[in-house]
Amino acid sequence: MTTSNSLVYLIALPLLGATILLLAGRRADKWGHILGTLMSGSSFAVGLYQLSQMLGRSNTARPVEQKLFEWISVGSFKVDAGLLLDQLSICFVLLITGVGTLIHIYSISYMSHDHDRRRFFAYLNLFIAAMLLLVLGNSYLNLYVGWEGVGLASYLLIGFWNQKPAYATASKKAFVMNRVGDMGLSFAIMIAFATVGTVSFAGIKEHAHHTSTAALTAMGIMLLVAATGKSAQFPLQAWLGDAMAGPTPVSALIHAATMVTAGVYLITRSNFIFDAAPTAQLLVVIVGAITLLFGALIGTAKDDIKKALAASTMSQIGYMILGAGLGPVGYAFAIMHLLTHGFFKAGMFLGAGSVMHGMNDEVNMRKYGALRKFMPITFVTFGLGYLAILGVPPFAGFYSKDMIIETAFNAGGIKGILLGSVTLLGAGITAFYMTRVMILTFTGKARWDEEAHPHESPLLMWLPMAILAIGSVSSGYLLSRGDALVNWLSPLFEHHGEHEELLAPIVVSALALGMVAIGVAIAFLKYSRQEVASVAPENVSVFTKIAREDLMQDRFNEAVFMRPGQQLTQVLVKTDEAVIDGAVRGVGKLAMGSSSLLRGVQSGFVRSYAALIFVGAALLIAAIWVVVQ
């Protein structure tokens, strides 16, 4: 395999930036954001360089490796700090550094009034580095480092304004729920080592075919658990909505474009495991299907623009997971949707940020309205993203989403029909809630607060939005032209025989567009034709209430995990005090008590002492008597 010495710079540059910014402290306040952006940008440049190198090699020789040093080596457990850049990771590298750099630029302006902008850039750089490590690691353990690294960065960024207790709680929640997922990754690695004896991708791939299905299934399920945590999939999805507490660029970068898609990366990367573990694969699909509906349903009821987008993200990642769960035919489409989603969702988030920027950080869409006139650029970029997510041809989503729907229908049998229907339904709901967002935000009457003076964002903010909008428009076409991405990625996946097509592509597209049209229409009827209340109405259906409550996910967690957990903690604290320590103290008390009791023997009367001696002697005689008997 080709080796390269420059892979490390991809990670090292942003990491260096983060280190400098963190250590330099306030001294770097003046130039910190520039350094951060530069570091991210140069990393992007390195990524482009690598891409160019890669393009210059033959299809099978494209992957590049760099072994940095021997990281952990104990017995047969040998893990190198090694990087692997192949066709899959380069996609991510470019997405991360590219979108990342754009968001850096956006943030320069967005965060310009924040006292701690330098720290923000430090965190962003840290995130970029960690995310790159995640996708570049050549073994699950290296991936794990990045995996938790992005968790940390996410934690720091969600809690960037942690002086607000709710935000601090949100960041903690995100971290802890991610940790639950991480546990799955740990298990997967442990199982891998115990069964295969190695944790590197290459090693496991090599051994996968003579490893039992049971072990691979276990690994697969555990990897899925990890993916659900990081990618906010059912049942570990609850943190994502709260994660919107972070500054909007963070939501765009981490909670839309990159980090949350790590689960898709993990499953795609582990294709050799899932391909050999149909049960696990089925679970992946089920999780994806549930989440895509789950997220979509939540999205219909959210008034907070960021939370609505977050729900949408959850739903879209559900598509990707579903796609990835469909096996070799789906991997490429999942990745494609991931990339296109990276563009349009990041763009929309930035747009949302732009709206908030102009609206005094108001997030409630019911307080928006008629912003089209005041923020034309934002409206346009957002609108392009909107079209893309709806899957309107020829926008990006059309290519990627339809492929997933199509593949889902083609999964075969009842499964295929079921999955196809779900994806179709999802597309419809997506259309509904996205249209709702558009209408509430940009059209209709202004329902602003008194102080609001909406205005268009400055150049540094709209430029990235514009670039992303271009991506939203064109990426789908570019990636699918001549099956570019599919072919690019194909060396990585094992190929199976083509599935028979259940429905022709054109039919699928038509169905999808039909669903979208229905969704859009309902939204129009509901929000454009009627007056929208600036305060969320209370007399809504139970369904809406539940949807507003994020489908009771928090209540469920609270009732099933948190409360019992807290009670268990309290009980154990008391038990420790009363029973375990109590037993110890009891021994002490017993000694004290018996001591006081035995003191009584010492009555002070010489006659009783004599009696003691006498009795003692008598007992000795009695003992002798017994012996002699």
């Binding site: 009555s603 006659r607 009696a611 009795v615 008598a618 005689i621 009695a622 002798i624 008597w625 002699v628």
Partner: protein, 263 residues
């Protein structure tokens, strides 16, 4: 102790008679020691036990010990006891009620157990050799035999015992000897003191006990002209020992003629 097989022929019948007469007496005396209230009686009973033991010693061919028992133990040691008893009040009698709860039952149980088990044990003891008797050992006379041992084999403990005696003497001195830390006033000084003191009340000497009282025993205080008892008419020792009688019943003013002789 059948197995011990002390040849019955060796111990003559008279000894048996002696034993069976004296042993019950000895035990009775010993028991009585515990049961009598007055210490003096105990001492006398103790002496009688000792004398009985002396007789047993002699009966068992331990002539020297028998004599020593009487002369030294009974004669000297018990007399010492009696002296001390006199010193601490010969009249004093103990109450025999037990004040420490549970002690007496414990003592009696222990005693019965101890005695009973010991007797039972001795009953089953065997020595594996026959009793010898002292005929051979005493062939040169009991005293000579003992002397032989005492001054040869046991000369070291014998000498050491002398140290013990010195210790005893020294100890008694330490505890009992009032060293004259200051010169005792002479007769002359006392006389001077009597007349040059603050008051001449005692110039003529202390009042004698019993004066003006209706009883002139040494433990009855004299009465002063006003009828109150004069404390200083009684010996300080009696006072200290609490043997002084209250003079109330002997005061002139309170004569109870209907009452007969007190005491």
């Amino acid at each position: 102790m059948v197995d011990l097989a002390i040849a019955v022929g060796q111990t003559q019948t008279p000894e048996a008679v002696l034993f069976w007469v004296l042993a019950p007496l000895t035990v009775a005396a010993a028991l009585a020691m515990l049961l009598v209230k007055k210490a003096v009686h105990s001492a006398i009973l103790m002496a009688s036990v000792m004398i009985n033991l002396a007789i047993f010693y002699i009966a068992q061919d331990a002539l020297f010990l028998g004599i020593v028992q009487i002369v030294v133990y009974t004669g000297a040691v018990m007399m010492l006891f009696l002296f001390i008893l006199m010193l601490v009040g010969v009249d004093s009698s103990d109450s025999l009620t037990e004040t420490i709860p549970g002690l007496r039952p414990i003592a009696i149980t222990a005693a019965v157990g101890f005695g009973g088990l010991m007797v039972s044990l001795i009953g089953r003891a065997t020595l594996g050799r026959s009793a010898i008797g002292l005929e051979a050992a005493n062939s040169n006379g009991n005293v000579k035999g003992i002397a032989q041992l005492l001054f040869s084999t046991y000369v070291w403990p014998f000498e050491v015992v002398s140290a013990l005696l010195i210790t005893a003497a020294l100890g008694a001195m330490v505890l009992a000897h009032h060293q004259s830390l200051q010169l005792r006033p002479t007769q002359r000084q006392l006389s001077t003191q009597r007349f040059r003191g603050a008051s001449l009340a005692n110039a003529a000497g202390l009042p004698a006990p019993g004066v003006f009282a209706r009883h002139n025993a040494v433990d009855v205080p004299a009465l002063l002209p006003d009828g109150t008892p004069a404390a200083n008419s009684i010996n300080a020792t009696l006072q200290a020992r609490g043997d002084m009688l209250t003079s109330g019943t002997f005061e002139l003013g309170k004569v109870d003629t209907s009452k007969g002789e007190e005491k």
